[in-house]
């Protein structure tokens, strides 16, 4: 079983690596690839733009101090099919964000998944609803 588990995890890791995104704007030079951070906080800004939107939120750090996070996504047209809209977040919303942080230690990253106050999460796992 142990060998089977290791083999399957190896396949999963390979698929995960193969899922590294194709970015329209920038690559991964600034991100700590594979690292994940989850933070729960309150939205302070949802900026809808091209080539990147970003979500800013305040969350309590390990020491209890407030950390001002900013996490980016792709541009608006690219994330519309994944369920995001300009109205997805408003200031004061509670969110739980899983992100891939930048390498330099600042509270920045790219958004991998967000759980909204009502328990729903984005991005949607669906493809193009028109096809």
């Amino acid at each position: 079983m142990r060998h089977r588990l290791l083999r399957t995890l190896g396949v999963a890791l390979g698929l995960s690596i193969a899922s590294v995104p194709l970015l329209a704007h920038h690559g991964a030079a600034q991100f700590d690839l594979g690292k994940k951070v989850t933070a729960k906080g309150t939205v302070t800004e949802w900026f809808w733009a091209n080539p990147h939107c970003f979500l800013r939120f305040d969350a309590a750090g390990d020491d209890g101090q407030i950390v001002h996070w900013a996490v980016e996504t792709q541009s608006g047209p690219n994330i519309l099919p994944q369920g995001f809209t300009k109205q997805t977040f408003k200031v004061g919303d509670e969110v739980t964000v899983t992100l891939e942080p930048v390498k330099n230690g600042r509270p920045l990253g790219r958004l991998l998944r967000v759980v909204l106050g009502d328990g729903s999460s984005l991005p949607l796992a669906t493809g193009n609803p028109q096809n």
Binding site: H25, A28, I79, L108
Partner: protein
């Protein structure tokens, strides 16, 4: 199902679910791709006809984030269509070890000047990519991407309008257009130092998008030539390959059938490259409904300023950690 199967399967699902899908480029809502019409038998190609709304035949097939598709710094895996990522990369000449593909041997044949220009560019993609904070890509300040970068970097949904005298190309990315003249005129002989006469139909001047003229070489193949570019402020692609005021571009459109068009791009510039080279090799485009609305992807300087103040300029590896 046995526990032996369930546990590894859950691990697989968890890893996949946690992949950074928010950044992936998906299909355009409302567009039709070849995968949606498996087994179709398209009708014959119409004669001398390019008009219509066109979308790459595979979702995101025209987005060449890491460099021009036929000469990219890293190749896409044929089976998955995804880029091959190097996990333990060496440091590049930009000073960064990028967790990315690294195959400079497939780069174009630079001259000494071309290589010097390349190394002056700090792109945010490709094997020489740098963090946002230290890039010098002109389009990230909303300079026009120009031609052929509009095709070699971010070819998205586009419309071709065809008239008896010219074609108009309407591009989604940066919401731009260009004209290809088909009225028999020639390219400016020396667009950088023109001798303008009243006989000229256009007063030549260096342009972000150059001058383009085209003709049908047969009933299904249209070839356009472009020269008269601005200067080094336009790059050829997203990986920072250089372009200059002496660059000439040959653009070939081959109408394969009623639903498909293939687009190729060849670059000639003796100042930068030792020989002409193909940057895009038969990118397959699919005809869409004329009712398909083309989304807006405008570059707003004020949006870019806000982005850099709050994110991009803080991403440098030398930036001090802070909260």
């Amino acid at each position: 199902m046995s526990k032996h199967v369930v546990v590894p399967s859950l691990a697989l699902v968890a890893v996949l679910v946690c992949s950074p899908a928010v950044h992936a480029q998906g299909p355009l809502p409302g567009a039709v791709y070849d995968k949606d019409r498996k087994g179709e038998k398209p009708g014959p190609a119409p004669r001398r006809e390019l008009a219509g709304v066109w979308e790459p035949a595979t979702p995101a097939g025209g987005i060449q984030g890491k460099g021009a598709l036929a000469m990219e710094s890293c190749r896409r895996d044929k089976a998955t269509g995804r880029y091959v990522v190097q996990q333990n990369p060496p440091q590049t000449d930009t000073g960064y070890a990028t967790d990315d593909c690294l195959k400079p041997e497939v780069e174009p044949p630079y001259t000494a000047v071309g290589l010097e220009r390349l190394k002056a560019h700090k792109p945010v993609e490709g094997y020489r990519m740098v963090p946002d904070a230290v890039n010098n890509d002109p389009i990230l300040g909303c300079d026009p991407g120009g031609f052929p970068r509009i095709v070699l970097h971010n070819f998205r949904t586009s419309e071709i309008l065809q008239t008896p005298t010219h074609l108009v190309m309407l591009y989604k990315f940066q919401k731009r257009y260009r004209t290809i003249w088909t009225d028999g005129r020639d390219l400016p002989k020396n667009p950088q130092q023109p001798a303008w006469t009243t006989a000229d139909r256009l007063p030549p001047e260096p342009r972000w998008w150059g001058y383009s003229v085209g003709r049908w070489v047969d009933d299904y193949t249209f070839v356009a030539r472009t020269n008269g570019f601005q200067d080094d402020r336009t790059w050829l692609d997203n990986a920072g390959l250089p372009q200059s005021d002496t660059t000439e571009v040959e653009e070939t459109y081959h109408r394969v059938d009623a639903n498909h068009l293939e687009l190729s791009i060849k670059i000639t510039d003796a100042q930068l490259y030792t020989r002409p080279w193909v940057a895009l090799d038969r990118l397959s485009l699919r005809l869409q409904s004329p009712n398909l609305d083309i989304q807006e992807m405008e570059c707003s300087p004020s949006d870019q300023k806000h982005y850099y103040e709050n994110f991009g300029s803080l991403t440098g590896l030398d930036a001090a950690p802070g909260k």
